[in-house]
């Protein structure tokens, strides 16, 4: 058992059940409100079509696509972090293992909802499954996403199995117990031997999942962009790699934030050692990410290909450059790196959580900068320069979809045994 697991024994500042219940209800009410507002915008978009967005023939992909790749990245990142635990046996992160898998699942649901919103003909979404174009990366992605979602759910089920059986026998747990009884799918065995079996299953699924998540899901999403010859900014072999690395950055950051916030809200103590180590991991990924992007820009700049330079020009100097300098670099990289390396801040859970949240916001900037600037530059000389910023319909519906994700997550976190029980943290090797 790791040191950090021992260090945390009991709840330091206990919060009463009633306050917890009140907090949960307030939170859910806020989410439902956001879902209603977003739902209105989605309804408006469904009736009026894509004309109510700021999308145009010149900039056909916008905020929804950026959010889609952002959430696919979060999912892949969270899943890969979970493999550190379940495959590579880094039990110091054990506490976030199931949260990582569940977060990965919810993020995929959110990502696919964004794709659905973005389709010109939402009613034909199923065509994407019915027809297959072997040359189209997008066609492969649709299938990879589904396989990946199934894999996540299976692995999560194995991770929770014994706790589900225990819960289903616990009559005092009410709804939680009933749900556990249904989704244990008749599994009864809680023996030591079956637990070992679960772990080896999780390891196998994790091992299968690594190439699916890296090459299939997120590297694939990067390839979806990189394979487009008409967009010189995307069309580099480094692009899918950057996608995967930035997925690791955002996935790790999100898990830190989610873990800390959940523990704090419930008035439970936070494992500082683990947070510090995760924050270092996050910064490590972030620095690799920055390095890759540095070379991406450097090589593009030194080659001086006019079409590439035009995109960089839009990113670095146009009216939307605040997204690159302000969000992606300053908020998303400079401040978090400073916080994690400064002696003054890196002992504080709060500061590290702020760093993690800033990194997540920074990656949203990264995703927007991937999708939008290259489309502003038109493929043909003579076409009018595009311009794009999401309008209220896109923002409000995005808020609604994210609220839906948080809503599902909160319900799941309340009803499912996602939290690792004390003493459960053990060697996975």
């Amino acid at each position: 058992m790791s040191q950090s697991a021992v260090s945390e024994k009991c709840d330091t500042n206990h919060v009463s059940e009633a306050t917890l219940e009140k907090r949960f209800k307030l939170w859910m009410a806020a989410l439902i409100l956001a879902m209603f507002a977003g739902g209105g915008a989605i309804l408006y978009r469904a009736i009026e079509g894509l004309a109510v967005t700021n999308l145009s023939t010149f900039v056909p992909w916008g905020g929804w696509v950026a959010f889609y790749i952002f959430f696919v990245g979060l999912s892949a990142g969270a899943f890969l972090l979970s493999t550190l635990i379940f495959v590579f046996g880094m039990e110091q992160y054990e506490r976030v293992g199931r949260f990582a898998l569940f977060t990965a699942f919810i993020c995929m649901v959110v990502a696919l909802t964004f794709v659905l919103l973005d389709l010109g003909r939402m009613d034909r979404a199923f065509n994407a499954m019915a027809y297959w174009n072997i040359l189209s990366v997008l066609s492969w992605e649709v299938r990879f996403y589904l396989i990946y979602i199934l894999l996540l759910l299976t692995e999560l089920w194995f991770a929770m199995r014994i706790d589900l059986i225990k819960l289903s026998k616990d009559r005092s747990a009410g709804l939680k117990s009933k749900l556990a009884n249904i989704i244990r799918f008749g599994s009864e065995d809680t023996s030591e031997k079956s637990a070992k079996k679960d772990h080896s299953w999780m390891k196998i699924l994790g091992i299968i999942g690594i190439p699916i998540a890296i090459i299939g899901v997120h590297g694939g999403t990067g390839t979806l962009f990189a394979a487009v010859g008409a967009q010189p900014y995307w069309n580099t072999p480094l692009f899918p790699v950057i996608f995967v690395v930035s997925a690791l950055v955002s996935g790790t950051a999100l898990l830190i934030a989610m873990y800390v916030i959940q523990r704090k809200v419930r008035g439970k103590s936070v494992d500082l050692q683990m947070i510090k180590s995760l924050a270092l991991l996050m910064i490590f990924f972030l620095i690799i990410d920055l390095g890759l992007e540095f070379y991406e820009f450097l090589v593009a700049g030194l080659t001086m290909k006019p079409d590439k330079m035009a995109v960089l020009d839009v990113m670095f100097t146009s009216s939307m450059s605040w997204s690159f300098w302000g969000v992606q670099l300053f908020l998303g990289a400079v401040i978090p790196i400073y916080i994690v390396f400064s002696k003054r801040f890196n002992q504080s859970v709060k500061a590290l959580t702020v760093a993690a949240i800033l990194v997540v916001i920074g990656i949203i900037g990264v995703r927007f900068n991937i999708v939008v600037p290259t489309q502003v530059v038109q493929s043909m000389y003579g076409l009018p320069e595009g311009s794009y910023f999401p309008n209220w319909v896109e923002w409000l519906s995005s808020i609604g979809v994210v609220a839906m994700g948080l809503f599902l997550y909160s319900i799941g976190a309340k009803l499912l045994p996602l939290e690792t029980q004390e003493g459960d943290v053990e060697d996975y090797e």
Binding site: L50, W61, R121, Y131, S136, V228, G229, A230, M380, L383
Partner: protein, 286 residues
């Protein structure tokens, strides 16, 4: 309003049976054949059925043999369409753009053809080139290779087809087209134009009826199809036919004797963005 015009037209129309009665041939046979010919053109019966039904009576009545002659005289099998645009002849009047819009009844924001103006040099050494751009109908179309549902594909006759009944509207093809030749139909209409929604162009020979919300092609990606419906009638695409300077040539690039083949192999010929490897079927003469 429609009924008023219907009445006017019906009054002006002569009755078929009256006309046929004045000829020496069988009136009923004429009326029946006309009726079935209409069904044939609607695709309700095949040409073979038509021929079998009337062969005997036609040879008796007219002393002529009725033969099955599908597509004779308009045989487009083995044809690979292509276009050549002479940039020295193009004056940049945009007639092609306008006639394309009229022919294909494209809504606001959707244009299959555009003319780009390129000005080079500084005064007094300046040159101006007008580059009309329809869809290039590439032999290796990037739009078709990225489409997740194969709604856009390369047809045997060289045309890059857009199946708006299958398209899901993901717009990946628009991002992937190096020529900006694709547009998304956001469902807008020309409100200032009376009856704009009343009919649509029969793209790919398909009658789509009225333009209605939620019905294809609204919400899908649209593109030039070399006026396929006109080709099937033996006509040239609208942009070729209306070009005031006769700058556009259209024909079969498979036939080495055709005008387009000869022009495309001239030393003046070039294609746009050849470095992308898309192999466009639209050639330009510099």
């Amino acid at each position: 309003m429609a009924t008023k015009y219907d009445v006017l037209i019906n009054n002006g129309l002569a009755s078929g049976s009256d006309i046929l009665k004045s000829s020496k041939y069988d009136t009923n046979l004429g009326l029946n054949m006309a009726e079935d010919a209409r069904r044939l053109s609607d695709g309700l019966i095949t040409e073979e059925e038509f021929v079998n039904k009337y062969q005997e009576s036609v040879s008796k009545e007219f002393n002529q043999k009725l033969e099955y002659q599908a597509a004779v005289g308009n045989d487009n099998t083995g044809v690979k369409w292509g276009m050549v645009i002479d940039l020295r002849k193009c004056v940049g009047c945009e007639t092609c753009t306008v006639s394309c819009k009229a022919e294909n009844r494209t809504p606001p924001g959707v244009t299959y053809n555009q003319v780009f103006i390129e000005e080079e040099g500084t005064f007094p050494n300046v040159s101006r080139t007008n580059i009309p751009r329809p869809c290039m109908h590439c032999d290796r179309p990037p739009c078709a290779s990225v489409c997740p549902v194969r709604a856009t594909y390369k047809a045997e006759n060289g045309i890059v087809v857009q199946d708006s009944d299958r398209c899901i509207g993901c717009r990946y093809c628009m991002v992937a087209c190096p020529y900006g030749a694709r547009s998304f139909d956001f469902g807008e209409n020309y409100d200032e134009m009376l009856g704009f929604e009343d009919m649509q162009s029969p793209e790919h020979g398909m009658d789509r009826g009225e333009r209605e919300d939620g019905k294809s092609p609204i919400g899908t990606v649209r593109k030039c199809n070399f006026c396929f419906h006109r080709l099937e009638r033996g006509e040239e695409p609208a942009c070729v036919e209306t070009c005031i300077g006769d700058a556009r040539y259209f024909g079969d690039l498979n036939d080495p004797e055709s005008t387009v083949s000869k022009l495309a192999s001239s030393s003046r010929a070039f294609r746009l963005k050849e470095e992308y490897g898309t192999e466009p079927r639209v050639y330009y003469l510099r």
